[in-house]
C-alpha cells in the first residue's frame, strides 16, 4: 500500500487514488499536421522504466485533482509530488 502526498490534501492512502499512467507524455500541438506514426506513438506507446519515473495520479476519492508523482517503479519510493504544470526536479 502506497502512502501518497496529494499536493492539495496531504498524505493519504493509495485507496483514495487512481493511477493515471506516464506523466511525461505530451499531446501533439493542435492544428498541426501529424503523421499516423506520431499519433500512434502518442496514443498507444508507453515506456516501462525500471527506476525513477514521473507519472500521473488522480485523487479521485479526495479533492479530485490530477497531479504528478515521481516514483521508483522498483522500490515504490515516492520522491516528490507536484501540481500539474509544476516542475519536478
Amino acid at each position: 500500500m502506497l502512502y501518497i502526498k496529494c499536493p492539495y490534501c496531504g498524505y493519504r492512502s493509495q485507496k483514495e487514488f487512481a493511477y493515471g499512467g506516464d506523466g511525461t507524455i505530451k499531446r501533439p500541438e493542435l492544428n498541426q499536421n501529424i503523421s499516423d506514426e506520431k499519433w500512434d506513438e502518442f496514443v498507444y506507446f508507453r515506456k516501462s522504466p525500471r527506476g525513477k519515473h514521473i507519472e500521473l495520479w488522480h485523487h479521485i476519492a479526495g479533492c479530485r485533482q490530477w497531479f504528478q508523482v515521481q516514483r521508483n517503479t522498483v522500490t515504490h519510493e515516492i520522491f516528490q509530488t507536484a501540481k500539474m504544470g509544476e516542475d519536478i526536479k
Binding site: 490534501c9 483514495e16 479533492c63
Partner: protein, 194 residues
C-alpha cells in the same frame, strides 16, 4: 424531483447490536440528516475573483480541509476552488446567488443527490476507522475530508469533539450501501438509530 430520502425504507429506528446493559449515553447514535438545501460552488480556473469577498449566511468560504458553520449553515471545502454548502434555509441559494457571477462561478443545486448520516458518541472514531483509511485521530472540530468508507466515496464533516459528532456524506445512489456499512460497523458497540 422526489423529496423522498434514499434511506426512507432503510433507516429503522430503535436499538441495535450490542446495546444490552448499556445506558443510552454509552450508545452510538445514528441518524439521517435530510431536507437540507445543498449546493456546490465551483470557481473557474481562469477566474481571478477574490473568494474572500464571498459571504454566505455570514460565513466565508473555508480554507482547504476546513469547514465554516453557524446554526443554520455549514460550508465544507470540497477541493481547490470548490465548496459544498448545506443549509436549513431553503431559499439561501436564491438569496445569495447574486454574489456569484456566471463568468466566475458554477453553482449547482445538488440537494437531492446526497445522503447524510450523522454519528454521535464516544466511539464515533472507532466506527470511522473500520472502513476509512484517514488518520481519524488527527481530525478535530471544524475539519472536513473526502475519503472512502469500505470503497464508497464519502465526505466527513467533523462537527464537534464534545460530544463527538460527525456527518458522513455520500452520493444518494450509494446511500443504502453506505448506511449498511456504517450501521454494520456500529453493531459491535451497540447503536441507537434516531
Amino acid at each position: 424531483m422526489t423529496s423522498i430520502s434514499s434511506l426512507n425504507f432503510v433507516h429503522k429506528l430503535g436499538k441495535f447490536g450490542d446495546y444490552y446493559e448499556k445506558k443510552d449515553h454509552e450508545l452510538l447514535k445514528v441518524s439521517e440528516v435530510n431536507g437540507l438545501l445543498i449546493f456546490q460552488i465551483a470557481k473557474y480556473n481562469k477566474s481571478k475573483f477574490d473568494v474572500s469577498k464571498i459571504n454566505i449566511d455570514g460565513l466565508n468560504l473555508p480554507s482547504p480541509l476546513k469547514s465554516s458553520s453557524n446554526l443554520n449553515t455549514r460550508i465544507l471545502w470540497f477541493g481547490p476552488d470548490n465548496w459544498l454548502v448545506f443549509s436549513n434555509i431553503l431559499d439561501l441559494l436564491a438569496k445569495e446567488k447574486k454574489q456569484f457571477k456566471e463568468e466566475n462561478f458554477a453553482i449547482t443545486d445538488i440537494s437531492n443527490s446526497r445522503t447524510i448520516i450523522e454519528l454521535e458518541g464516544n466511539l464515533v472514531n472507532e466506527v470511522l476507522k473500520k472502513g476509512c483509511p484517514l488518520d481519524i485521530n488527527n481530525f478535530k472540530e471544524g475539519d472536513c475530508a473526502n475519503s472512502v468508507y469500505n470503497g464508497i466515496t464519502i465526505t466527513i464533516d467533523f462537527i464537534s469533539n464534545k460530544p463527538n459528532k460527525v456527518r458522513i456524506l455520500g452520493l444518494r445512489s450509494f446511500g443504502e450501501s453506505l448506511h449498511h456499512s456504517i450501521t454494520d460497523a456500529c453493531l459491535e458497540f451497540g447503536y441507537k438509530a434516531i
